[in-house]
């Protein structure tokens, strides 16, 4: 199997994680959100099997990354996602009823059914859109950060993209721009080891993305993306730096996708079962669950309550979507050419 990730941490010299900075309520929220994502994604799979949802990229396994990062965000901050973005959306607080409705192509969806899985957006919630073209969201995030700065706010923008997106030149264009203009943007690379079937060790010269930051005069850091606590705490300097007008940071979150790239695709055509098990044994939800119990942050019954609550909400999202109607035919022609329609 592939060798394990080697973590590069520019903040290593700093003392260990300061658990003071993360209160119990937040930890339980993280747990709840991560469980919601997991259950939502599993439900999506069922909906796909029923033929109601026509394919998607599952984020199972990667829940901790956006949940940890979004723990820092406030109103007016924006995130942007890529083709695999349900976890980003849920972490940022997009309504799962509207998400499920979107996935089922209903008029009550986040995008009125016109965008679907790869384009979920909810501007009011601070989700500036998922994007199906690898890397394409990165400069848009840079622009949102430029806007935040020009409008005189201390808002930040966060863009999530995969290890594969590090192949796209626009990442480096954007890093350069953000760096010379000291823009409040955090570039979050979710390195889940694969871009479709291609392993990152093959595609990325040097074997990691984070160390490319230095050449663009900004910090680059790797974080264990299976630990929501690490994600949250180690991202703190990046968020602060951005809010203080000191410029961008590149974060490489080390994670793993459990499912195939898309829909029901079988990942074992290009990776080993052994490797999969290695990562699954270190599951991000299991980790935070154990932590909450072991550190006596809450009791098992609290967790069960949160899990059941999430489960009910996910069930409801299906009902909401099922009860909604498809868009009218005229929707085909709407939402294009404001000025001239």
């Amino acid at each position: 199997m592939a060798t394990d990730f080697i973590i590069i941490d520019i903040y290593k010299e700093e003392p260990g994680l300061d658990m003071q900075k993360i209160d119990d309520k937040l930890l339980m929220q993280f747990f709840e959100t991560m469980v919601t994502i997991r259950l939502f994604e599993e439900e999506c799979r069922r909906q796909a099997d029923l033929g109601k949802l026509r394919g998607m990229h599952s984020s199972i396994g990667q829940e901790a990354v956006p949940v940890g990062i979004c723990g820092h965000l406030k109103e007016g901050d924006y995130i942007l996602g890529n083709h695999r973005s349900h976890h980003h959306c849920i972490a940022r607080g997009v309504d799962i009823n509207e998400m499920m409705a979107e996935l089922l192509g209903k008029s009550t969806g986040t995008n009125r059914g016109k965008g679907g899985t790869m384009h979920i957006a909810d501007i009011d919630k601070g989700m500036l859109g998922a994007n199906g073209v690898v890397g394409s969201n990165i400069p848009v995030a840079t622009g949102a950060a430029l806007s935040a700065k020009m409008r005189g706010t201390d808002n930040v923008s966060v863009v999530f993209f995969g290890d594969g997106a590090s192949g796209q030149g626009v990442l480096y264009e954007s890093m350069n721009l953000a760096s010379i203009w000291k823009l409040p943007v955090i570039f979050v690379c979710e390195n889940n080891r694969y871009a479709e079937a291609t392993p990152f060790e093959y595609a990325i010269a040097g074997g990691n993305v984070s160390s490319r930051a230095e050449g663009f005069d900004m910090p680059g850091i790797q974080i264990d993306g299976q630990s929501v606590i690490e994600m949250f705490l180690k991202a703190t300097p990046a968020i602060e730096r951005a809010r203080n007008g000191e410029g961008p940071t590149l974060i490489e979150a080390l994670t793993y996708r459990y499912q195939g790239h898309f829909g029901g695709e079988n990942p074992q055509s290009y990776r080993t079962k052994e490797e999969e098990e290695h990562y699954k044994s270190n599951d991000c939800i299991k980790q935070i669950r154990n932590y909450l119990i072991e550190e006596e942050v809450c009791g098992l019954d609290d967790l069960t309550r949160l899990e059941e609550g999430a489960s009910v909400k996910v069930e409801q999202s299906v009902k909401f979507a099922d009860d909604s109607s498809f868009p009218d035919d005229k929707a085909l022609y709407e939402d294009v050419y404001i000025s001239n329609s």
Binding site: A2, G105, K114, M118, G132, E196, P327
Partner: protein, 355 residues
């Protein structure tokens, strides 16, 4: 046209695979590169001797015979590797480069339109550029606005690019072989809904297509020539790629109403086979052009304009274009179905001319 020699019912994807295999066997300058073309196969650390073989499995199995050098996975760097294809083609190789979806052209268009298309002209002819680009097109798979475009019209806008759009397994194999052998850059547009179809399933009636079976030997389908898929005298329907099937369906329906319908399978979007189109229209005196690409500045407009300008006096009624609407591709199933040109709309348009 080559004649069928056996009864092999290859899918479009298998036919492409065979074309690639045969051209690679016969010319060691040919190689294939793109994202997941090998798909994680052939690398020791993975221990997989075969894997994806391309997003649409067009290159499935090739790595076993030709190795990772000639079946080359790339990072997601379309500008980088399409540019590399240009450089390799200019210096003695014959690369086949995969652009996974045509909608991704925007990250690498410069390499295609400013280098591949123009180098020979700018350099005064002192270069050849035997580069083949393959890409996928088409809506109908819930892939929404960025992954469902057709876009051959966009490339056909540029002098120097040859654009072909096969309609079935037979034309796919033949056009791939012609493209790879061409000393010009050629873009091949593979419709997503065609790739799983067999030559047989592409052809559902009498004498339709020339692709009931795919010959095993190498053969070319000539670039720049449209194919008369079905002869008729009352009206001409022009299909491109998947819409050829829509035209066939419409033709059947119209024939059941007593009309004699000519179906032209365009095959080459650029150069355009004006002659075949004009001859047909001069005979039938009416034309419906069926195209899934956006309507503005499209090959459908070109054909309509061509016919109007060059066969004006032969037309009994104005040309009609049946295309997608001038909107992005929507996600929701009912909207997506509404988006696509249908047999019904073609029949209706044809009857409007015929009646």
């Amino acid at each position: 046209m080559a004649q069928a020699t056996d009864q092999r019912a290859l899918t479009y994807a298998q036919a492409v695979n065979e074309a690639l295999r045969q051209t690679m066997e016969s010319d060691n300058k040919v190689f294939v590169m793109g994202e997941d073309i090998a798909g994680g196969a052939g690398r020791e650390d993975q221990g997989k001797s075969d894997a994806w073989g391309g997003p649409f499995r067009l290159t499935k199995g090739l790595i076993g015979d030709f190795g990772p050098d000639r079946v080359r996975d790339t990072p997601i760097s379309e500008a980088g590797f399409l540019g590399a294809g240009v450089g390799a083609a200019a210096t003695g190789m014959r690369p086949v480069v995969d652009l996974m979806f045509s909608g991704f052209f925007g990250v690498c268009a410069d390499q295609i339109v400013n280098n591949a298309a123009k180098m020979r002209y700018m350099f005064g002819g002192k270069i050849t550029l035997p580069l083949t680009i393959m890409t996928s097109t088409g809506a109908g798979t819930a892939s929404a606005a960025q992954h469902s475009e057709t876009l051959y019209s966009l490339f056909a806008h540029f002098p120097g690019l040859t654009c072909v759009a096969p309609s079935d397994a037979y034309t796919a194999k033949g056009l791939f072989i012609s493209a790879i052998r061409s000393d010009d850059p050629v873009i091949i547009f593979n419709h997503k809904l065609l790739m799983g179809r067999t030559a047989k399933s592409a052809d559902m009636g009498q004498g339709e297509g020339f692709g009931v079976v795919v010959p095993e030997e190498m053969y070319e389908v000539p670039i720049g020539k449209a194919h008369i898929d079905r002869e008729g005298t009352d009206i001409t329907l022009v299909g491109i790629s998947y819409t050829t099937i829509v035209c066939r369906d419409a033709a059947r329906e119209l024939e059941s109403r007593g009309y004699s319908v000519e179906v032209i399978d365009l095959l080459s979007v650029s150069p355009l086979d004006s002659e075949t189109i004009l001859n047909s229209v001069k005979k039938t005196r009416g034309i419906v052009i069926v195209d899934e690409d956006y309507p503005r500045c499209s090959v459908a407009s070109d054909i309509s304009a061509l016919v109007a300008e060059e066969a004006f006096d032969y037309l009994d009624a104005p040309p009609v274009r049946i295309t997608s609407p001038h909107t992005p591709v929507p996600y929701s199933l009912p909207l997506e179905m509404l988006y696509l040109p249908t047999k019904e709309s073609v029949v209706e348009a044809a009857l409007g001319i015929l009646e």
